[in-house]
Amino acid sequence: MVHAREAVRLTQRKLGSGALEIIDRRSNPHGKNLENRRRALERARGAVQEAVREAVANGRIRDTGQGNAVTIPADALHEPGFHRVFTEGQRHIVLSGNHEFSRGDRLRRPPSGGGAGGGGAGQAGTDGGGEDSYRFLLSRDEFLDLFFGDLELPDLVKRELAATETTTPSRAGLSSEGSPSQLDLGRTMRHSMARRIGLGRPKPAELKEVEARIEQLEEERPLSDTALLELEELRERRGALRQRLNRIPWVDPVDLRYRRFAPTPKPSTRAVMFCLMDVSGSMTERMKELAKQFFLLLHVFLEKRYKTLDIVFIRHAETAEEVDEETFFHDPRTGGTVVSTALEEMIHVQRARYPAQQWNIYVAQASDGDNTTSDTPHAVKLLEEDILPVVQYYAYIEVAGSGAVIRGETDLWQAWRTVAERNAHLAIRQVTDRKDIFPVFRELFSRKAGTEVART
């Protein structure tokens, strides 16, 4: 019992018949049940995942994924057992709080059919129910992991992502010159010692010994011949030692080693997401709602991978403008549709505020596919020449009206399709119903495109 050992034993003594021990456990590790909680979530993974996706579907874009409570139905975590149920026959129930009944009174059976408000005292678990649903508070990371499961940025995007660089200094070995604050003392002294040993620099202690002996001999006069000889030798030796000591320095500039830093490229962790939407008269509220779902998913998904994520909302009908989220989704507009205006606005904003070298740029466009015919060639040109070269990924979602038979191919669809054939990072999909949104999203981002799609 680990915690017992850790606990501070405050008091322990004999008193009367029994001993009392008071242990303060407040500082013991908390969260004993984290592992159990993880297992419960794992067991109900399917239900939790569904709950998470439901929560996202109902949330606002910016609120999503801020750490959430999800509620999962009890049967996902049901613990069975053998229980009897009262279905027919006779039973007695004693209740309290009688104010008006006398023997022989008849009461209407409560509508639940189970008898007077459930079983008698202590009659456990009728038909295994009785449990409510369970609510788990998920951290942001848990939430998003469950939500996106096996989704990943496509390889293509990652490669481009690596190309957009900022640099940070990082350690890169040693150099023989540098600033004193970066001196690597250990290395320097190692070199110094090797040099001193190699060149035979005498030890100061050795010199001291010789000096002491000389002093001793000089004291003792008169000296014998042998002693005189020794003294002379010693004096000579002293001169040599002093000379060597002076000539060979303790630390020489050649010993010095400095930590070296080299600028290394780092992938940029900033991203901007452009939401482009057609708000012309032909887009109904329902279609906008579908588009919103998609934007929301992309936002949460990108947010999980980038430290800072900006969103730019651009709406367009005949003209385009940058607006805030509220206006973007809820302010109705009417009029014709000129897609190129939105693309121009996007290019304008991007060039002014989000240089491609420093930002990862994602674009999500939603439209019902209508466009003024004369505008389409211009839009294609903008897309292919100005936009696609700078963005990581461009997703186009075409929303169709409710129950509409997929009407042939719209102008925009045809145009974008030809572009998509030449550019792998332009993805185009059609969505007709809310339930399509997530599968389409998965399809765009699933790890191994082929197999994952088949599974959804």
Partner: protein, 510 residues
């Protein structure tokens, strides 16, 4: 530092460890000298509310193995607590020696004193002295055994994988209600020896040959001698067997030794907790009565001030709240009914009325309320206690009435109320609902087809034609078949007529 008699123990809500010690001493003096309680040594642990949630989750066990079901329980407790639907019980106590009580740091000084009186003396005395606990549980060893269990299960997870362990645990948990020896189990389990024996036993079983399974399908000649051999085999298996987990642990042919050990762990822990629900009313009644008595006594001695005493009364009255049927109550609050009955016994002993003398001639006016209560706490369980001591006075106070629920009638009939004619009927029914046989489905293993396909046959002896809840039954049966390894058949029998009401079966996936 210890003041041996006079003066206030504390004032205000703040507490510190020396106050707790002083309170403990003062309470102990009342408990032992005045009430004559006999307790295990106490250990008091101060914990935070967060840790209290952990303690809750594990039924008060300080140590438990990992399982998702605890995570689920934790989530629902945590949730109810955070939303304010549930106040945390301010105390949890477990039946061990030394007796461990948990105090929450958020409690006021009065609450700490009350909890010490309630748990460290009330429950403690009950655990130590009640016959059922004495017979069934070994409080000195439970902590070691739980530690062993956790270690063993986590080693199994390392060796065999979490999934494999979970499969056994899930199936065994489902059978917990049928994993205890209800009638024969007078020998309490020696949990210490249990740990040591476990290793030796597994080693032996690993190495030795299991004779029972030599019985390969035999020819026609064998069929003739079948009947007597069958009988011998049934005898050897100890059939009929009500303890399903025990039977599986001993006889399931396809289990690995470590799987048997896990089943054993689940079974022994279930067995340990088996007495608790059938003593809940008495246990809580006893503890509540004791803390009420002790706090009153401390107040009389001038050791706590009026404010503290009011707080104690307030807290007690919250706990013993009994809602009527109109407020949706479908059962009795064990604290309320238990406390009321204890109070009532005290009253009958000291100030009986004519009615009490008639109903309780042996204790009415005997002048020894504490002795009478101690005797009751030691010798009874909820069902027999109610049958013996539920008085007309308490039935009137609770305004009890009895309903007859007959599914053939479109109405519920009031067939007894709290009057002279109804007292005994009501008492009998209240007692019956506290009888454990009313809660656990009576299921027995009746036969094993050792000469054929090893089908395991079970019987559910239904009561009043109440069959098992279908979905749960199917899931549980599937787990059972999985552990047994072969087909399992469950018949639901109507006891009086012997007719089979329903038959279910399950075959393990291959």
């Amino acid at each position: 530092m210890t003041t041996t008699g006079k003066g206030l123990l504390y004032q205000g809500a703040d507490w510190n460890f020396s106050i707790i010690r002083d309170c403990y001493d003062a309470i102990e003096r009342v408990a032992h000298d005045e009430l004559g309680l006999d307790t295990f040594p106490n250990r008091i642990e101060v914990i935070t509310s967060e840790q209290m949630l952990d303690v809750y989750t594990a039924n008060g066990m300080p140590i438990s193995y990992h399982h998702w079901s605890y995570g689920k329980r934790f989530a629902s407790h945590e949730n109810a607590y955070r939303r304010g639907l549930m106040g945390l019980a301010y105390e949890v106590v477990i039946n061990s020696n030394p007796c461990i009580s948990y105090l929450m740091e958020e409690n006021s000084a009065t609450m700490q004193a009350l909890v010490i009186a309630h748990a460290a003396f009330g429950h403690n005395h009950f655990f130590k002295n009640n016959r059922l606990f004495q017979e069934w549980t070994d409080p000195s060893q439970i902590l070691n055994y739980l530690e062993f269990a956790r270690g063993y299960i986590s080693r199994c997870e390392e060796r065999h994988g979490q999934q494999a362990v979970e499969r056994v645990l899930d199936a065994a948990h489902a059978l917990q209600g049928q994993g205890v020896n209800r009638h024969s189990g007078s020998r309490r389990v020696d949990l210490r020896g249990e740990q040591e024996r476990a290793r030796a036993r597994r080693l032996h079983e690993d190495e030795s040959y299991n004779d029972l399974w030599r019985t390969l399908p035999q020819g026609a000649a064998a069929a003739a001698q079948g009947e007597s051999e069958r009988e011998a085999l049934r005898h050897r298996f100890g059939l009929p067997e009500e303890n399903l987990l025990y039977f599986l642990e001993k006889n399931a042919p396809r289990l690995a030794p470590w799987e048997r050990e896990i089943i054993r762990i689940v079974r022994l822990i279930a067995q340990y907790f088996y007495p608790q629900p059938q003593l809940k009313l008495m246990n809580e009644g006893c503890a509540t009565w004791v803390h009420d008595r002790i706090m009153t006594s401390l107040h009389e001695q001038g050791r706590i001030d009026d404010a503290a005493f009011m707080e104690a009364i307030h807290s007690t009255s919250n706990v013993i709240m009994q809602f009527g049927y109109e407020q949706g109550a479908t059962s009795f609050n064990p604290y309320a009914l238990g406390f009321a009955m204890m109070k009532d016994i005290e009253r009958i002993c000291t100030a009986p009325q004519a009615e009490d003398r008639h109903w309780f001639p042996d204790i009415a006016g005997n002048g020894d309320p504490y002795g009478t209560l101690r005797h009751a706490w030691a010798e009874y369980r909820d069902e027999s206690f109610i049958l013996q001591f539920l008085s007309p006075r308490v039935m009137r106070d609770f305004r009890m009435f009895r309903l007859l629920d007959d599914t053939r009638d479109p109405y519920l009939l009031v067939d007894a109320i709290h009057d002279e004619a109804g007292y005994r009927d009501i008492r009998r029914t209240v007692a019956a609902t506290h009888d454990p046989s009313a809660w656990y489905a009576e299921i027995e293993i009746v036969d094993v087809d050792m000469f054929g396909d090893r089908t395991l046959r079970l019987e559910h002896r239904t009561q009043n034609g109440q069959i098992l809840s279908e979905n749960d039954m199917k899931l549980t049966l599937r787990g059972l078949a999985d552990l047994w390894g072969y087909r399992v058949v469950l018949d639901e029998i109507d006891v009086p007529s012997g007719s089979v009401l329903a038959t279910h079966e399950s075959t393990p996936p291959r």
